[in-house]
């Protein structure tokens, strides 16, 4: 029973009354069909038997809301899924909280919710609980999303800074800089923005496969015959650490790893995958691609013996076709540093990126 027909969010949609109920029943529930959510309890009951869980949360305030290759909804799922994935877990459930500015068109909201639901499906996670708040016009920028997620730690996956040793190889599952440059160019209205596409994707499928096959982790889902055939025997603790290079890009993540492990890192520019459009856009804006954000990438530090196998597993996965071994962990001479061997054979230190960069003049 709708009293008024609204095509926009009103403050009252967050008031807990009839409009809230309508919003949930007409716009939210149909998109996320699962028993846990359908109960609409104050909290979700999950049945997981595992002694070890991973738990994370992240908020999404991206502008523009829709960009080439994704939108805030997809990002909110993938970002949290990836945080769980690189911690060595298989994501199982997400909580979704929306902070909506009064006046947001339902059409936009529905589009965003559809892509939340699609991304959740693709990543095999359920949205099991959530919350909606509305705020006055001007108090938020259309919509902010927070997601929290729970993942089941893969038994046998043993990741941590302390596992990293000199000689370990560093793998990335594809090209860098795509997400950040897509967002910046769209925001700044740059010519070739249409050729740029965010890499926004959930990588849990790939990370789980990596761990199951090279770290002696227990499989958590049924394998296809092909996957079992590629399963390696005798290698355990192949993957030692993983992290997703989001804000601050590869430069920030490698510096964190170097600092955390107390070891130095050497990477080769020629082996770091960068798409030509991304390179062109970065050059034009004066940005260093190493410092640009990614949303569908992860770095894996793996033992030298397992490096080739890990690389192959990545390359056989749709999200790792352009995977590459970009460098090694090396002994530290003085302080842990990240060094880049450039294409011309020069060397430079890759510093921790500092704050926000402004596009240059010409």
């Amino acid at each position: 029973m709708r009293t008024t027909k609204n095509d926009r969010i009103l403050l009252a949609h967050g008031g807990g009354g009839q409009l809230t109920d309508e919003l949930i029943r007409h716009h939210i529930l149909p998109k996320f069909k699962n028993d846990t959510l359908a109960e609409l309890g104050d909290s979700a009951k999950l049945n997981v038997d595992s002694k070890s869980l991973c738990f994370t949360t992240d908020s999404y305030v991206v502008k523009p809301l829709f960009f080439n290759g994704g939108d805030i909804g997809k990002l909110a799922v993938c970002g949290t899924v990836n945080d769980l994935a690189v911690a060595g877990s298989k994501p199982v459930a997400l909580a979704l909280s929306l902070i909506i500015e009064e006046g947001l068109e339902f059409e936009l909201l529905d589009k965003i919710l559809s892509s939340v639901s699609q991304a959740a499906k693709q990543n095999n996670v359920d949205i099991v609980t959530g919350d909606i708040k509305t705020v006055e016009a001007g108090a938020a920028d259309k919509i902010f999303i927070n997601t929290a997620g729970i993942g089941v730690k893969l038994a046998g996956a043993d990741l941590g800074f302390e596992k990293i040793a000199a000689g370990d190889k560093i793998i990335i599952n594809g090209t860098i800089g795509d997400h950040g440059l897509t967002i910046i160019s769209q925001r700044e209205g740059i010519k070739f923005q249409s050729q740029l596409q965010s890499d926004c994707a959930g990588v849990a499928g790939l990370t789980c496969e990596l761990l199951e096959n090279t770290s002696g982790a227990n499989p958590v889902r049924n394998k296809t015959p092909e996957a079992s055939a590629s399963r390696l025997t005798g290698i355990s603790n192949g993957v030692k650490f993983m992290r997703d290079p989001t804000r601050g890009g590869l430069a920030a993540t490698l510096n964190e790893i170097s600092k955390g492990s107390g070891l130095s890192i050497e990477i080769r520019e020629a082996d770091v995958p960068v798409s030509p459009v991304v390179q062109a856009a970065a050059d034009m804006l004066g940005f260093d691609v190493l410092t640009i954000a990614n949303e569908g990438k992860f770095i894996a530090i793996v033992s030298p013996e397992s490096a080739d196998d890990c690389l192959n597993i990545c390359k056989n996965h749709p999200l790792g076709k352009e995977a590459s071994i970009i460098g090694e962990v090396i002994e530290t001479r003085d302080t842990p540093t990240v060094e880049l061997i450039t294409k011309i054979g020069g060397k430079r230190i890759v510093q921790m990126p500092y704050g926000r960069e402004l596009p240059r003049i010409c």
Partner: protein, 362 residues
């Protein structure tokens, strides 16, 4: 790749030979900030002999823009009837009364990527006077000239510019005329040369006997440019050369030169750190004076003194390296810049801050 390494090796050999033969430090100034950044990013210093020193020149328009100019912009930003259209890196440059970023009237400040955007802003906001902060060398001056002509043709009278456009060659003359410079040769910027033609540097070679070599921004071109310079120095020669022949001609882009000449005339102007330089700044010609912001608002610019403690002047003249400034990395960082060299992504101090961390064997 091998072919590239071969050429690099050849150029390095020339540099080594020159350093050995001359038995002293060789100082080569890269005029443009884009060279500075490329040199850092590609680790070029690490491939050069120790006795070859690269000096960072006055090649970033943001850095050399005088404080008086910034103050004028800030003053106009305070007016309710004005909209300031500026390139991104000018936003943080500190003037005497803060920077555009710290202005309470921030809503009056719009970041644009091109002069066209600035003119569009004027068309979209007929009740405001759009003031375009027109800075840059010969690279951006033609684009400013184009919109001034467009505004004149379309009678867009709520548009004006503050011309801070500067000319590269007069600055090089000023540097060499200074008493305590130590510049042996110049690596000249590719994109400025595309416009003015490499022939424009002939006077430097003739009047001062300093080699001038034009190079693009690819690392290979930079190294080959340095090799060419070293070869000349060790042979005791000073010549004009371009190692960027595909793009840069001797005459340059004559239609761009024509449109600059049609709208602007060179007048004496103030440069940060270098002071007053004869015929070094572009002022709108009388027939376009109604688009001249200074005239429109009846402002007389007073040259500003540099912020105390900031040694940008010496940095821009190649007399000191940024870390020699006492404020570098302490009170002066890219987030809290004291001088302009720390603001622009291509400013000497910002480039040193971001990339200049020394490797242990340097």
């Amino acid at each position: 790749m091998d072919f590239m390494l071969d050429r690099i090796h050849k150029a390095q050999t020339l540099c080594n030979a020159a350093c050995e033969k001359m038995g002293r430090q060789i100082n080569i100034m890269e005029v443009c900030g884009t060279h500075t950044v490329s040199i850092f990013r590609n680790g070029i210093r690490s491939t050069l002999p120790r006795k070859l020193k690269l000096l960072t020149g006055p090649g970033c328009p943001v850095c050399v823009t005088d404080q008086g100019y910034i103050d004028t912009v800030l003053q106009l930003a305070d007016r309710d009837d004005c909209l300031i259209a500026t390139y991104g890196d000018m936003v943080r440059v500190p003037g005497r009364g803060g920077s555009l970023e710290t202005k309470r009237t921030k809503a009056n400040v719009k970041v644009v990527l091109s002069s066209e955007d600035a003119l569009q802003l004027a068309k979209d906001n007929p009740n405001k006077i759009v003031v375009f902060v027109a800075v840059g060398f010969e690279t951006t001056a033609p684009a400013t000239a184009v919109v001034v002509k467009e505004a004149a043709a379309g009678s867009i009278n709520n548009f004006c510019i503050l011309s801070g456009h500067k000319l590269v060659v007069p600055a090089m003359r000023a540097l060499l005329s200074g008493k305590n410079h130590n510049i042996d040769a110049f690596l000249c910027p590719g994109h400025v040369s595309v416009i003015i033609g490499y022939g424009a540097f002939a006077e430097i070679v003739e009047d001062f006997g300093r080699p001038c070599v034009v190079a693009g921004f690819e690392p290979l071109q930079i190294i080959e440019g340095l090799g060419e310079i070293c070869q000349q120095l060790s042979a005791g020669k000073a010549e004009l050369k371009s190692v960027y022949p595909a793009v840069v001609t001797e005459q340059g882009n004559t239609s761009a030169q024509k449109i600059i000449a049609e709208c602007f005339e060179p007048v004496d102007g103030y440069w940060r750190g270098l002071g007053k330089i004869e015929k070094s700044t572009l002022k709108l010609k009388d027939k376009y004076s109604r688009f001249d912001g200074l005239k429109r608002f009846n402002i007389t610019e007073t040259p500003g003194e540099d912020t105390s403690g900031c040694r940008c002047g010496e940095v821009l003249c190649g007399l000191i390296e940024p870390p020699e400034c006492g404020l570098f990395g302490k009170s002066c960082t890219p987030q809290t810049p004291v001088g302009p060299c720390m603001v622009s992504s291509e400013g000497a101090c910002a480039a040193w801050f971001k990339y200049g961390q020394k490797r242990k064997d340097e």
